[in-house]
């Protein structure tokens, strides 16, 4: 299957006229400010555009079409109602700067969402404005810095991260002007507390942790971690990437965290959109309340209003032009209301059941699980180091061959400390039959690895393209289409 570029469907003079404003008018600006040559936008009919982009969509794997056990990304079903009710014409048409009197409906939704997120995280305040997990992380670390600065504790510029952390954690620390101190993970999956004690001190701004961690196990000594870091004067940051695992079971606020970001596009099922939009709402404990990013929705009696810099003079400021990814927030709200208090607990229960079941079945089939003595959280790691050593079929080969079997690959080569790893997160919305079919595929692929390794090494065979030359992509940069010169 191959689909030409939209530019290759074009012909000069062709157009989708129904989309044009009726009367052509001249732009009245000085010639020196005018564009000389028109931009290279395609000239196609409406049908051509519709057919082209529909065909492109069909080249994708997605949750709606495939099992998508991409660890750390929580690819669960995105209920259609969330999309439909977030796209009611009044909600879509509202300008963000319209008077609050014309937005009481949407403001009430956002206020209630803030309140629900406070409840599920055990935090004291929530700001919905960060536009993705990484921006939520930024907000969190910026608040930690602002807190220390406000106390004139200026030496605290070090952020501690475990070696298994998401890449966004250290990158965020740098963006906040901090330096990064890495600490190792023990062989049982817990943080090395002795190493932690060794790095904390008067320079410690805080620690960034995911719990359950990126290796898919619950950090059992979290209270001790909190005591060590708080005792040294630092704060605790919770990376909410894995909140799906513990929803309603344990709350980050109760674990001792001072600030958390939530990936609403994971736990609260807003669509991943082929790479966004996400939403990285942040929650904070009492002492960080004054620093929350603005705007936040406040309530005066029956009226809802935006709280801004005037209301929170110590805020870390604004992170977006308006108020974050509102449309994503509306979707999360609909989802949370449909789940309700019991449904939210079932999320973590069945996500955990699915992960542990899949782990047990794969282990029984002969795959090596990275932390066999531990319960899986909502995800777990299989290491294919034996398969790589014996048959020269590595984790990437397994991942690509899974595509041929009709499964999106798990996350590969993350976390970095487990060799040849697959990070597998089935989520709660997959039925047992789908998990069983995935196990069957893994068993079949393992057999192929033993008998016909080339089938893996050359995979995928049945997709629109075979394995792509990444080196060429980076060396001979071709980032835009150029028309053939006549």
């Amino acid at each position: 299957m191959h689909e030409k570029l939209i530019f290759e469907h074009a012909a000069p003079g062709r157009s989708a006229d129904a989309q044009y404003p009726r009367v052509p008018v001249e732009a009245t600006v000085p010639t020196s400010l005018l564009r000389a040559t028109p931009p290279l936008l395609p000239e196609v009919s409406e049908l051509q555009a519709v057919r082209h982009y529909t065909r492109l969509s069909q080249l994708n794997f997605s949750i709606d079409t495939h099992f998508y056990p991409l660890g750390s990304c929580t690819m669960k079903y995105n209920p259609k109602a969330c999309n439909q009710y977030a796209m009611l014409p009044e909600l879509l048409g509202r300008h963000p700067l319209a008077p609050e009197s014309t937005g009481q409906g949407v403001l009430q939704i956002l206020f209630e969402l803030q309140e629900m997120l406070k409840e599920v995280t055990g935090m004291r305040g929530v700001s919905l404005t960060p536009m993705a997990g990484a921006q939520g992380e930024f907000a969190g670390v910026a608040m930690i810095r602002a807190y220390h600065r406000a106390r004139n504790d200026l030496a605290r510029t070090e952020i501690i991260v475990p070696d298994a952390a998401h890449g966004t954690n250290p990158a965020t620390a740098t963006m906040c002007g901090c330096t990064v101190r890495e600490i190792p993970t023990q062989s049982n999956g817990d943080i090395d507390l002795e190493a932690l004690k060794g790095v904390v001190g008067p320079h410690t701004a805080g620690i960034m942790l995911t719990n359950p961690s990126t290796i898919g196990v619950f950090e059992r000594r979290i209270r001790e971690v909190a005591e060590i870091v708080h005792g040294a004067g630092g704060l605790l940051y919770y990376d909410g990437a894995n909140l799906n695992a513990i929803l309603g079971k344990v709350r980050p606020g109760d674990m001792g965290f001072d600030v958390i970001h939530m990936n609403l596009h994971k736990t609260f099922s807003t669509p991943h959109g082929g790479g966004g939009p996400g939403s990285g709402a942040v929650g904070v404990s009492e002492r960080l309340l004054p620093f929350l990013p603005v705007p936040i929705v406040g309530r005066d009696g029956e009226r809802f209003r935006w709280l801004d810099q005037q209301d929170l003079p110590q805020t870390i400021g604004r992170l977006s032009n308006f108020m974050g990814n509102t449309g994503v927030l509306l979707r999360a709200y609909v989802y949370m209301r449909m789940l309700g208090r019991d449904g939210m607990q079932r999320v973590s229960e069945f996500a955990t059941l699915n992960a542990n079941y899949l782990m047990a079945r794969l282990q029984a089939a002969g795959f090596e699980v990275a932390y066999p003595e531990r319960r899986a959280s909502h995800e777990f790691i299989v290491t294919l180091r034996r398969e790589a050593r014996e048959w020269e079929t590595n984790a990437m080969d397994f991942a690509k061959r899974l595509l041929d079997y009709g499964f999106h690959a798990p996350t590969t080569y993350f976390p970095l400390l487990v060799p040849e790893c697959l990070l597998i997160e089935p989520t709660e919305t997959e039925p047992k039959e789908e998990l069983d079919a995935f196990v069957d595929a893994m068993i079949a692929i393992r057999k192929e690895a033993e008998t016909e390794p080339a089938k893996l090494q050359g995979a995928p065979w049945t997709l629109p393209v075979r394995r792509l030359d990444d080196v060429r992509a980076a060396k001979q940069l071709d980032l835009t289409w150029k028309p053939a010169t006549a």
Partner: protein, 458 residues
């Protein structure tokens, strides 16, 4: 159970395989003292029908007022085909194209998008999106610091006529890395950045100069002169631009003798609904020489094992999942779905359609300015060439006037006198191609009556 497919028999069979007595046993590693007693503060579940009714009531409360606000988000017609395709599960429910072979649809679309944006800005390279225009400017400033290796000052010049929220966001995001933002004044009569004000920086180390075209007031800046000054003084030039305007206005890559170095802005006008402020997307384009300093995803065309063309994420060595603390940015998830909308929008409009949207919006704003300035007590702040926004000066505070208009179903613009007290009672208005002559007359009548009745009351 909503969205959970397990039958009781499934659960029993699965627990048997795991070797656990019940689901609760799977949480045994969580210390008992930390276990939450459920979520009593969360309301009980609603059915789809119930939440649908509830959302419809919220929406009805907000209604559909006639909109004359721009200020960074613009109401344009969105062809029906755009969101019909964007809402397809294959785009909507996919994730970042890490597995390229299973994501060729998204990847090819992003490559087409990069081509369109590069051409629209007349620069060589576009990334695959950032969060929004304001945070995109913060990223552009950080990128300029990396790209302008000769400059050590971290000094960025921002015009006062730049969208003030963009300045706030740039400060909040880039301020942590010690960037220094200094302000360039605007001319009180023309509303344009004063080019001669740059001369106080002659001989000083300036990392980059930012200009917004059109600026926050809708006024067109002398981008050629400012770009030439920046380059003559060792600074990089960053242009903040409205993508619709680029169908008719000189693109950043052609500003001055050498063109701007980085263009960024908010892509919302390209097929993205207003939606109370987001999700929108930020775009960024640059010259080829700076590509390795660019933040965000970039898609490249390459070949597969059979030599067949295909698309993949490329230059990932810039990114957080590879470089970690040394990455160009911490950005990971961005705004893919909105870029999908924009790409389809630009395909449907084409070069002529987009130019017609731009020119018609300019004409409508001119008609709006003409109609409103005929009302006693209303005058135009800057009579200089503009795009599709204008600042009007009222003879009284703006906020009560806007509230009165809102009661009549009109959102009549943004009160900018708080951010610009030197202007007086200043109202920023906008009309795009979606406002008809009738709409404009409706607004003018309502404003005239509002001003008359409040004058009578006073």
């Amino acid at each position: 159970m909503p969205f959970i497919p397990h039958t009781d028999a499934d659960v029993r069979a699965m627990l048997d395989v795991i070797g656990a007595p019940d689901i609760d046993a799977l949480f045994e590693e969580i210390p008992a003292a930390l276990r939450a007693p459920g979520l009593p503060g969360i309301p009980p579940a609603m059915t789809e029908m119930e939440i649908g009714r509830c959302m419809a009531e919220f929406a009805a409360r907000d209604g559909r007022p006639l909109n004359f606000i721009g200020a960074g988000a613009y109401e344009h017609h969105i062809p029906a085909a755009v969101w019909a395709i964007v809402s397809r599960g294959e785009f909507y429910s996919a994730y970042t194209p890490y597995q390229a072979e299973a994501s060729q649809g998204t990847l090819q679309l992003l490559y087409e998008y990069q081509t369109m944006m590069a051409s629209l800005t007349a620069l060589e390279i576009s990334n695959a999106s950032l969060y929004d225009g304001a945070s995109g400017l913060a990223e552009a400033c950080l990128m300029a610091v990396r790209a302008n290796r000769k400059s050590k000052s971290l000094r960025i010049l921002l015009p006062l006529a730049l969208n003030p929220t963009y300045r706030d966001v740039a400060q909040a995001i880039a301020g942590n890395q010690n960037l220094v933002f200094e302000q360039l004044p605007f001319d009180a009569k023309g509303g344009q950045t004063v080019v001669s004000a740059l001369d106080q920086y002659k001989g000083k180390d300036v990392t980059a100069v930012v200009i917004q075209q059109p600026n926050f007031f809708g006024t067109l800046e002398d981008v050629d002169a400012i770009t030439n000054w920046a380059h003559a003084n060792g600074a990089l030039m960053i242009g903040v631009v409205n993508p619709t305007s680029l169908a008719v206005l000189k693109p950043p890559g052609e500003w001055g003798a050498r063109g701007a170095d980085i263009a960024c802005g908010d892509g919302q006008p390209l097929g993205v609904p207003l939606s109370s402020g987001g999700p929108y997307f930020g775009f960024m384009a640059t010259r080829a020489e700076h590509v390795r300093q660019m933040p965000g995803r970039i898609i490249g065309r390459t070949v597969d094992l059979d030599g067949k063309p295909g698309f993949a994420l490329t230059l990932q060595a810039r990114e957080q999942h590879i470089r970690r603390s040394k990455a160009t940015s911490n950005i990971c998830t961005n705004q893919g779905l909105l870029v999908t909308a924009a790409t389809i929008y630009m395909s449907l409009l084409g070069p002529r359609g987009l130019a017609r949207v731009a020119a018609t919006s300019m004409q409508r704003t001119q008609q709006l300015v003409d109609a409103l300035t005929r009302i006693p007590g209303v005058r135009l702040a800057f009579d200089t060439p503009r795009f599709h926004e204008a600042v009007l000066l009222l003879d009284r505070p703006v906020k009560p006037v806007l509230e009165a208009l809102a009661h009549r179903g009109i959102v009549g613009g943004v009160d900018v006198s708080g951010r610009y007290p030197q202007l007086g009672h200043a109202l920023l208005v906008c009309a795009t191609e979606t406002r008809t002559v009738n709409d404009i007359e409706t607004y003018a009548r309502a404003l005239a009556e509002t001003l008359r009745s409040s004058a009578a009351a006073a």
